[in-house]
């Protein structure tokens, strides 16, 4: 288990190196090696832990020195935020950092004497998170090396600060490892604030006006969550005399009032981090940053931190007001974001909306807090992490080649950029199509929310499911639609391709090995969290799924082979007989040739963000405010 401190500290050291090395080639080489080491270390951690019996491990009971270091680092972080805020004439945002930091510092220095408790806790959930952060995060770093090269090449107006970019990427990874492995709430708070600040810095990378505005939006929203987190910690510590997350969950399950309030506040913090309504805008604004940072924010890190905390807290929230709040907000976000995704034509925006929407489903799963929903939620998290990372990287690479990320521009991508299009196809299929991953989770989530008699969540899932398939299918169709647009040169770099290919292979492997994964890993994970476990998916359905996946691959392949040898007379497409002969134009009534443009439906006036965002924010804010007020007032 010595690998744990290494895993947390190593990325920080690399971050420092990245900042110091100003020679691109050297820095790239160091980045590759470090990414590989991080990946190997996280796999090693997993393997050695499983070899040790796959039992929960508690470590580091006495760590005075580390506690002090973390406290100092937290104060430094606060100073950095304050300086940056003042520099950009937004001093009021720094208050959101100063207040909780002072509170935490007071608790640690002058607060009551704490009982002895562990700082690090390793179990199935944290190992899973480590794997996600370690593998996907490192792959994104590898991708970023190639991507940023091209990015700086094309965006000459943006100052080349790659040293800074990579520094923050690694900081982010380190903070995530610390976050998921810590059990001490004070440590968690520090790593939490670090991820908030890192995302703020990443979003503001380009230093354009829009980026700065968006980065500060992200900062205040996440710091607001940080405030709630700190308040929850202090409230709990004063009452219970420790700051251990596991203890908190146990107390929460025992209906202790202090723990209940703390759980609610921390859950609120997690909602901000997971970009749930009304805090979704920061994640949408994060699009201005270079693609690798979006991939990182959306898949492996940041938002998953919120989900992770909610999964941890879910036993304590189950069946209580806090759980209902989280389930409602999650379900509502799932539906509202999938509506808004329909109206988006910017590929990255669609991805962002679908991230928010899928996170909503995971949050709802955590809020319901039954073993089945956590099972579904964990699978959602795994599939989502891989396919989102894959899709973001793919869209980034496509954007480099097409110089546009508009969905309409992607018409016929299968014939113009075949490799990238096929990968995109696989990523999208994994996102929503039966019988692949996400859908099974949706199935389980629906079943569990019926069991839980959560009527409103049933509606959210049922309607959200319909809208989700709408926007993904639209996108799929665009990829294979014939187009007369010219073939584009694939300028995807080798390192980008490596990352993409590994992701694709992982995606397919996880789809295929899904029942196995469920049996040997996710089931124990759930029983560890809840102490009990019922089989979510019956064996019959499981076999059926395997069979279906087989069919799903076999049918189109057979049909394709059969079709290939069949004689087919190719006709012009029907345009009332005025087709110009190439299927891409027609003759108008003046005898002139007109270009044909086939566009998808977006229903901007009905489902547009402008129209739906405001009401959704108001509804969700109202629900959160009322629920938190009730919890603070002592309702269960």
């Amino acid at each position: 288990m010595e690998v744990i401190p290494f895993l947390i500290c190593f990325p920080f050291v690399v971050a420092l190196l990245m900042f110091c090395i100003r020679v691109n080639k050297v820095r790239n080489a160091v980045a590759y090696v470090s990414a590989a080491i991080i990946m190997a270390a996280s796999v090693f951690l997993c393997v050695s832990w499983i070899a040790g019996g796959a039992k929960p491990v508690e470590l580091y009971v006495n760590t005075e020195a580390a506690d002090r270091i973390i406290l100092i680092a937290e104060i430094v972080l606060m100073c950095v935020v304050t300086v940056l805020c003042v520099k950009n004439r937004r001093w009021y945002i720094s208050l959101l950092s100063i207040v909780p930091t002072i509170g935490i510092a007071w608790l640690e220095i002058a607060g009551p004497e704490m009982d002895e408790y562990k700082r690090i806790y390793v179990d199935h959930l944290s190992i899973l998170m480590c794997l996600i952060v370690g593998i996907i995060g490192s792959l994104i770093v590898i991708y970023a090396v190639g991507y940023m090269h091209g990015y700086q090449h094309y965006h000459t107006n943006i100052r080349d600060r790659r040293y800074y970019f990579f520094c923050i990427l690694f900081l982010f990874l380190g903070a995530m490892f610390g976050f998921v492995l810590s059990s001490d709430l004070l440590w968690i708070d520090f790593f939490w604030e670090t991820t908030s600040v890192c995302s703020f810095l990443l979003i503001g990378y380009t230093q354009l006006e829009e980026a700065v505005t968006n980065s500060f939006r992200a900062l205040w929203m996440n710091l607001l969550g940080g405030c709630a987190l700190a308040a929850g910690i202090i409230y709990y510590a004063l009452d219970a005399g420790n700051t251990d997350l596991q203890e908190l969950v146990v107390y929460g399950q025992m209906y202790k009032p202090a723990a209940m309030v703390a759980v609610t506040l921390i859950a609120f913090a997690a909602l901000t981090k997971a970009a749930q309504l009304p805090f979704s805008k920061w994640l949408l604004g994060a699009m201005v940053a270079p693609t690798p940072s979006s991939a990182l924010l959306h898949s492996a890190t940041m938002v998953k931190a919120g989900i992770y905390v909610l999964f941890r807290l879910s036993p304590a929230m189950s069946g209580k007001l806090s759980g209902n709040m989280v389930a409602f907000i999650g379900g509502f976000t799932f539906l509202a974001a999938s509506f808004m995704a329909i109206a988006q034509s910017d590929a990255k925006k669609v991805l962002a909306m679908s991230t928010i929407s899928n996170l909503g489903l995971m949050v709802a799963c955590a809020g319901v807090g039954r073993p089945e929903t956590i099972w579904a939620g964990v699978f959602l998290m795994i599939f989502h992490a891989i396919s989102k990372s894959l899709l973001f990287q793919d869209v980034g690479a496509t954007e480099n080649a097409l110089h546009s990320r508009d969905l309409e521009e992607m018409q016929g991508l299968l014939y113009r950029l075949p490799k990238l299009a096929i990968i995109m196809f696989i990523g999208i299929c994994g996102m929503y199509l039966a019988p692949f991953g996400m859908l099974i989770s949706k199935w389980a989530a629906l079943k569990a929310s019926v069991d839980e008699r959560n009527i409103i969540l049933v509606f959210f899932i049922v309607f959200g499911s319909a809208t989700t398939s709408f926007y993904w299918t639209k996108w799929l169709g665009k990829l294979i639609m014939r187009s007369s647009k010219p073939v584009v040169k694939d300028i995807t770099r080798k390192n980008e391709m490596v990352s993409l290919t590994v992701h694709t292979v992982m995606m397919i492997a996880i789809c295929a090995l899904f029942p196995l994964l469920s049996g040997i890993y996710v089931d124990p994970l759930v029983s560890e969290l809840f102490g009990r476990y019922e089989q979510v998916i019956s064996n019959g359905v499981l076999y059926l799924l395997v069979l279906l996946i087989l069919f799903f691959f076999a049918v189109p392949i057979f049909a394709y082979l059969r079709n290939k040898s069949m004689a087919m007379n190719i006709k012009l497409s029907y345009m009332n007989g005025i087709n110009t002969g190439k299927n891409d134009g027609f003759v108008d009534s003046f005898g002139n040739e007109k270009k044909l443009v086939v566009s998808n439906l977006y229903f901007k006036s009905v489902f547009g963000q402008r129209r739906l965002m405001m009401p959704s924010e108001i509804i969700s804010t109202a629900v959160i405010v009322v629920m938190i007020a009730m919890v603070l007032g002592g309702a269960v």
Partner: protein, 156 residues
């Protein structure tokens, strides 16, 4: 032998017609004349049609359209010229812009005269056309079979 004549689907194209014949073509589909009892379906789509009903004469503008629609129809197919204009150009025959009947651009099989052609005669034309359609379908089958055998022979 499949009775393909039981299902003659129609594509109706209005050339430079005065709309008289078009109204009559539509009339033959309405409850009074009910061409659907013969299995006729008025598809607007050449890919799905078996019989092309053309009304009105051919001019420079619609000649390529007629040709394209005809090309888009899968074999076997039959063309029916409805009304005197589609047969020969009719009273517009000598107009500067009229090239003549539909047979100027595509092979016409059945001519239904009249100005406007009456629904009864249109249905009669369709019945003649569907018999021809049946005959052509059989020829098409025989051809396909022959080609298949030839392909097999080539392979072995």
């Amino acid at each position: 032998m499949t009775q393909v004549k039981r299902s003659p689907w129609i594509l109706h194209y209005d050339g430079s017609s005065c709309n008289g014949c078009d109204i009559e073509v539509l009339a033959s589909m309405t409850p009074v004349y009910d061409a659907e009892r013969l299995g006729v379906e008025n598809t607007g789509d050449p890919m799905q049609a078996d019989i092309l009903l053309i009304t009105g004469g051919i001019n420079a503008q619609n000649a390529p359209v007629v040709k394209q629609l005809y090309d888009q129809m899968p074999r076997p197919k039959v063309v029916v010229a409805v009304g005197i204009c589609a047969c020969t150009g009719g009273v517009f025959k000598d107009c500067y812009n009229i090239m003549g009947g539909a047979d100027k651009v595509i092979p016409v099989d059945i001519y239904v005269p009249g100005c406007a052609a009456r629904p009864q005669s249109i249905i009669d034309g369709i019945i003649k056309a569907r018999d021809l359609f049946q005959k052509r379908s059989e020829e098409h089958d025989a051809l396909m079979k022959k080609q298949k055998l030839e392909r097999k022979g080539e392979k072995s």
